[in-house]
């Protein structure tokens, strides 16, 4: 039972932002994990939701205002629910090369790589970031919903004697995102933020705290940094970021805007656009699938690449009025099923209804006419280039 009786299939979406009344009322009595900043979010009046087992802020002043704040200014996400694994020792690189599809041998200390972990059956265990801390030390950052699954999977593949440590529970992560992020944060550190290239990081003193990882990465496509600190320092760093960012109107941003921001840039969300059954090649992740090395299921994926995929993840925008949602069916002009929607929203920046979905290759070219089945109607849509927002 929902706010106005939500449709059942929507409440099964992996993204937790589908707030329901009952859930809200009950959530006070159920045991959820917290981050080091949960009390801060509550004191700011955030709307809290259960997400991947954590009690997380979905919005503060409102999703659309928060979205524009990140696109045009600077905003801060608490994404401490994300998982972090240390991989160290002589076998560290060999293990990472085996479990991940991208070529981690290209990494040097201070570099970050986006990658995915294929499973043995053609799908994806998770997508992740790989930080090269030293030649034989790496930090893997994984999705909150997959921490346990990933940990078990990586351990099961560790015939290289790499030393693994799950530091998720002790690590807080702030994502400070937006075009004003450099200006907002520079006074807090001697690290030169303007010179930090995309997908690189540095370790140093930040807001008076030593050994903080400051990484020029993020999930918004608007620039900015991700800051990894121990839980014990999280509140201090959060407060310092808001004090330093005050002249730039820095604001807290919830997971709702995180989803619209990433979708406008066409970034995949695990559990929606990719999962245990989707091929990285079908998902458009061929650019991080390197057949220059052996990795889990690489033979089968290479065969798939040579044979050609039968479906592809594409971006589309609605021509008719409506909003596409996760799991809505996609049909062709003749009404034949050709795929399904994996993510959809009303884009706050573009003012258009946009989505990602898998379609048969015959309908995957830009400008292909497709139809989204929204409840009892077929709404016209067309395939467009990703990212939706340049």
């Amino acid at each position: 039972m929902s706010v106005l009786r939500k449709e059942n299939h929507l409440s099964q979406s992996s993204f937790g932002a589908l707030v329901t009344t009952d859930r809200l009322l009950k959530s006070k009595n159920t045991k959820m994990k917290t981050t080091a900043l949960t009390a801060v979010h509550e004191s700011l009046g955030a709307k809290m939701i259960p997400f991947a087992g954590y009690n997380m802020p979905v919005s503060y002043e409102g999703l659309i205002a928060e979205h524009h704040c990140v696109r045009n200014g600077v905003g801060v996400f608490d994404v401490s629910h994300m998982g972090e694994f240390m991989v160290k020792g002589k076998g560290a690189l060999d293990l990472i090369q085996w479990i991940s599809s991208n070529d981690a041998s290209k990494l040097t200390p201070g570099k970050v790589q986006y990658s995915c972990m294929p499973n043995a059956t053609g799908g994806v265990v998770d997508d992740l970031l790989i930080y090269c801390l030293a030649e034989d030390a790496f930090l893997l950052v994984v999705n909150a919903s997959n921490i346990e699954k990933d940990w078990n999977w990586i351990q099961s593949q560790n015939r290289f004697d790499a030393v693994l440590e799950d530091i998720s529970e002790n690590t807080s992560l702030l994502a400070v995102q937006g075009p004003k992020a450099i200006a907002a944060l520079q006074s807090l550190t001697d690290l030169n933020l303007a010179d930090m290239k995309y997908y690189t990081f540095d370790k140093g003193v930040f807001a008076g705290i030593p050994n903080v990882i400051v990484s020029a990465t993020g999930y918004t496509g608007s620039g900015g940094f991700e800051i990894y600190v121990d839980n014990a320092s999280a509140k201090e760093v959060w407060d310092a970021v808001f004090a330093a960012g005050a002249p730039y109107d820095i604001k807290p941003i919830g997971l709702g805007a995180r989803d619209t921001l990433r979708l406008e840039k066409g970034f995949c969300l695990y559990g929606n656009d990719i999962d245990d059954t989707t091929s990285p090649l079908e998902a458009g992740l061929g650019w991080i699938t390197k057949f220059t090395k052996d990795f889990v299921n690489s033979d089968a994926l290479q065969a798939q690449k040579e044979a050609g995929v039968t479906q592809k993840l594409v971006g589309f925008e609605l021509v008719d009025k409506g909003i596409p949602r996760h799991d809505y069916p996609i049909v062709n002009v003749d009404g034949q099923p050709i795929g399904r929607v994996t993510s959809g929203t009303m884009s706050p920046s573009l003012g258009k209804a946009i989505g990602l979905g898998y379609v048969a290759v015959a309908s995957a070219d830009v400008d292909s006419e497709i139809y989204i089945q929204v409840r009892n109607k077929s709404l016209k849509a067309k395939v467009v280039k990703i990212p939706f927002l340049k």
Binding site: L10, S59, L63, I64, G256
Partner: protein, 126 residues
């Protein structure tokens, strides 16, 4: 959280303003707050006569979609045209400019099935 005492309510978080056999219907302050930024309202039932509890449209926030249910049965005689161009008025003024439909009620005794403000407050824990 506003719950005006002169209105009636449903468990589906709609409000009803009664004037003779004409009911004006919208969603409550609580509902708009839970939904978040409303971006699209679809009501294609103008001039149709629907029973109590039947779906008369849908309302979409950025992340959610919800059906809209008839609090009482009757003919939909007017749809608020302003919400087509700027559905955000539902967030800003749910009991005023953000009204959704006017209904010529078939059976005014159905008004007795609605909740008063006190009962609705209890439902939402306000």
């Amino acid at each position: 959280m506003q719950v005006p005492t002169e209105l009636k309510f449903t468990k589906d978080h709609e409000w009803v303003s009664i004037d003779g056999d004409i009911a004006t219907i919208g969603i409550t302050d609580f509902a708009q707050g839970e939904l978040g930024d409303i971006v699209f309202v679809e009501i294609e039932t103008l001039d149709e006569t629907l029973d109590q509890e039947e779906v008369f449209g849908s309302i979409e926030a950025v992340k959610t979609v919800s059906d809209l249910f008839m609090p009482v049965g009757g003919e939909i005689i007017e749809v608020n045209e302003e919400i087509d161009g700027s559905p955000d008025v539902i967030n800003e003024d749910p009991y005023g400019k953000g009204w959704l439909i006017k209904v010529k009620v078939s059976d005014v005794s159905q008004f007795d099935t609605l909740l008063d403000a006190e009962a609705y407050k209890e439902l939402i824990g306000a």
